[in-house]
């Protein structure tokens, strides 16, 4: 199991955070336009 990268959780959390933030943002964008149309 040599050569396995240690830790790096901060990158994992930031990736998931940004991904879910992006999806939530777009859902909100859709919701806002839902009201408009």
């Amino acid at each position: 199991m040599t050569g396995m990268i240690e830790g790096g959780w901060e990158f994992v959390w930031s990736v998931y955070g940004i991904t879910w933030a992006g999806l939530a943002l777009y859902a909100w964008h859709l919701y806002r336009h839902e009201k408009a149309s």
Binding site: M4, I5, E34
Partner: protein
């Protein structure tokens, strides 16, 4: 605007995504080579696949719009390019955040990532174009043509960057995914697919309504009363 099946599909996708991300983060073992950093793949890979699929839908819609000139296709071009761009931008961020721990640097000119960055500009221009043109028919034609050219450009850019990057030294990409990761990854992919479908179809309906209002012919001015003109002698 009424049909709501896509909300159900979207929610179902969301559930799949939540389950697979939870499993990927906490339940599945760390990846053999990359350790916990490998968990990024459960978000990264589905975004890549579904992003490309959304662009494919945009391409087909653009060809349909050029071919038939119907507004439904035009609305689909805008909806799928918009969602495709969202996934594309997310992919870019995920890619560089994945590259840092793996390769030590945020940007590695990895062919996929570089192509993804270029596609953000190519499809971003399509949306900019749609905002700039107010004549509906012209907007349909020009944005569809730009979408077709942007999509056709993807494989060419990928190939040229791949050769540019690797023609001399071989290039290894840790794409091999061992057994335990497959299920959460596949479920995440379907989750993202359904969620994106929900987004695209919802956005498509919204754009469709907007276009319908815009394109709907205003009522004609009323018939003018005849003008009394005495014939000149």
């Amino acid at each position: 605007m009424k049909a709501k099946w896509e909300l159900g599909v979207g929610l179902f996708g969301l559930l799949l995504l939540i389950w697979s991300h939870y499993t990927g983060l906490f339940v599945a073992p760390p990846e053999a080579m990359m350790g916990d950093v490998g968990r990024i793949l459960y978000a990264h890979v589905p975004t890549a696949w579904v992003g490309l699929l959304t662009y494919l839908v945009a391409f087909i819609a653009a060809v349909g719009a050029i071919w038939t000139g119907r507004w439904a296709w035009d609305a689909m071009v805008e909806a799928s390019v918009e969602v495709g761009l969202l996934l594309n931008v997310l992919l870019l961020v995920q890619g560089s955040l994945w590259a840092k721990p793996t390769w030590g640097v945020y940007w590695t000119w990895d062919p996929r990532l570089t192509t993804c960055a270029i596609m953000v500009v190519a499809f971003g221009v399509v949306l900019t174009l749609r905002r700039q043109i107010d004549d509906p028919m012209r907007r349909l034609t020009l944005s569809s043509v730009a979408t077709i050219i942007a999509f056709v450009n993807v494989p060419i850019v990928y190939l040229s960057v791949k050769w540019w990057r690797t023609l001399h030294q071989p290039y290894s990409s840790p794409d091999t995914v061992d057994g335990s990761m497959v299920t959460p990854l596949r479920v995440a992919a379907f989750g993202m697919l359904f969620l994106a479908t929900g987004f695209v179809v919802r956005r498509w309906r919204q754009v469709n309504t907007r276009l319908a209002i815009e394109v709907q012919a205003p009522d004609l001015p009323e018939e003018p009363k005849p003008l009394h003109v005495e014939e000149s002698k």
